[in-house]
């Protein structure tokens, strides 16, 4: 009647027990990381588009306004992908026979759409709405990143629910004056770069409620980021961030100075009548 197992088996047995435990833990951690990894979220992926369109070139280089192409970003849920016409406007004159632009000319000739591949692709059951964000002071860059520095477009944020909630639970930290919506470089106020704001007429569209400036208005005439001013506007014809020219009524009322995003966030949350986190994180806000 000898031993069934030899000496080493003791150590082996205990070691394997410990190992199993470790593996289980490791697996959990791995999965947790995986669900947030770019492989799943598609962050930073640059799908090969029919035309290697460079936002960097057009925005930074040529200084095109976002809205020149994304026309309806302030008016509708979709920002709008520019029709071929928009490209042709310029490329009828310049780079008229660049090989890169062949698909564009094709589309223009044949009348068939250019088939882009969607970069920011939310699930179909999520109803994201551009205009309300833009009109309540969430800048393009807040979600899309420094598009002006992207030679090829890619998705910067995870676009996962936790990411949305992160802001919906505390909008303040991303709010900025609507006048700065399209400012890619906007960094928010800081002690060395403060922002002055004043509230103007009440009751107009959000965009007209507040004037902000980055240069001290008390020192010399401020270049005030003024926006069209109107009284309560009838339904359907909501005036938005940058509709029309800024009409006079320049009353540089008592300007408040903000040197931190936190304070500015608080101020704008009140001024822009941002709904409460409770409401913003309620399901029906995004799912219908």
């Amino acid at each position: 009647m000898a031993q069934v197992f030899d000496r080493s088996s003791n150590a082996l047995a205990r070691f394997s027990l410990v190992l199993t435990g470790l593996i289980v833990i490791a697996l959990g951690v791995a999965l947790d990381q995986l669900q947030r990894s770019p492989w799943v979220t598609r962050q930073g992926q640059r799908p090969d588009q029919p035309v290697p369109f460079s936002h960097k070139h057009h925005v930074e280089g040529l200084g095109l306004q976002c809205q020149y192409c994304h026309v309806q970003v302030e008016k509708a849920a979709y920002a709008g992908i520019p029709p071929t016409k928009t490209c042709i406007n310029c490329h009828a004159q310049i780079w008229t026979n660049a090989a890169l632009l062949e698909p564009v000319r094709q589309s223009w000739a044949t009348g068939a759409s250019i088939q882009w591949i969607r970069v920011h692709d939310l699930p179909d059951y999520v109803y994201f709405n551009h205009d309300i964000h833009v009109n309540k002071g969430i800048g393009c860059a807040s979600c899309h990143g420094r598009v002006d520095e992207m030679p090829l477009m890619y998705q910067q944020s995870t676009l996962q629910m936790e990411w949305c909630l992160n802001c919906h639970r505390n909008p303040g930290k991303n709010l900025r004056p609507v006048s700065e919506i399209y400012n890619m470089a906007w960094a928010g106020p800081s002690s060395d770069k403060p922002v002055w704001c004043t509230s103007t007429v009440k009751g107009g569209a959000t965009a007209q409620n507040v004037n902000c400036t980055t240069t001290n208005p008390t020192a010399g005439g401020p270049e005030v980021a003024m926006l069209q001013m109107e009284g309560a506007t009838p339904a359907g014809t909501a005036k938005t961030a940058s509709d029309g020219p800024a009409m006079g009524v320049m009353v540089p009322a008592s300007y408040e100075k903000f040197s931190s995003q936190e304070d500015l966030g608080k101020y704008l949350t009140a001024q822009y009548h941002i709904r409460t986190p409770n409401e913003l994180s309620s399901c029906e806000t995004c799912h219908r």
Binding site: M1, V4, F5, R7, S9, N10, A11, L165, S281
Partner: protein
């Protein structure tokens, strides 16, 4: 582990629990301390003879239970009050009566697991190899119908000849050396 030198101890095999208990009591009286009985079923008298009473298993179990209840209840509270506060059927966010039940279940889960694994750990299991298995009859009887007393060499009072003599005074079926 590297094979240790010398023998592990002397092991005596008995037919009945009574004999085992008797021998054990004598051995203790004789001043032996490092010894152990091996029986096919729990013999409490043997434990008394060894003066082995306290086990820490209940304590481990208790700690496990406490851990379970706190983990569950805190999780539920956090999820409902801070994690994602939602209006569910107009009930309050902190619906403690509802939270009790999962907390209760996890108390039992954690306590049970720690009791079981605590016991295994305290018993130093798994220990697939053990010197006593080297004793020729051990695996024949120890888990079936025989009763063993092992006086270990590590005991200061242990000396091969004397101890053997000491054991042979009892009606043991056999007294054999067990090497590491």
């Amino acid at each position: 582990m590297p094979p240790r030198e010398g023998i592990y101890g002397l092991i005596a095999e008995f037919n009945t629990p009574s004999e085992l208990v008797h021998a054990t009591e004598q051995a203790r009286a004789a001043g032996y301390r490092r010894m152990e009985c091996y029986t096919p079923y729990p013999v409490e008298e043997a434990a008394e003879a060894l003066h082995f009473h306290k086990t820490r298993v209940p304590l481990v179990c208790l700690l496990g239970g406490l851990m379970g209840v706190t983990t569950a209840f805190l999780m539920e509270t956090w999820v409902n009050v801070w994690g994602y506060p939602l209006n569910i059927a107009g009930r309050p966010l902190f619906s403690w009566p509802a939270f009790i039940i999962p907390a209760y279940e996890w108390t039992i889960l954690f306590a049970g697991l720690s009791a079981a694994f605590g016991m295994i750990a305290l018993n130093g299991m798994p220990q697939l190899y053990h010197p006593v298995f080297n004793a020729p009859n051990f695996r024949n009887g120890a888990t079936t119908d025989k009763f063993f007393l092992c006086l270990e060499a590590s005991d200061p009072k242990f000396s091969l000849s004397e101890t053997r003599a000491f054991l042979e005074q009892f009606p043991a079926i056999s007294v054999v050396e067990v090497d590491h």
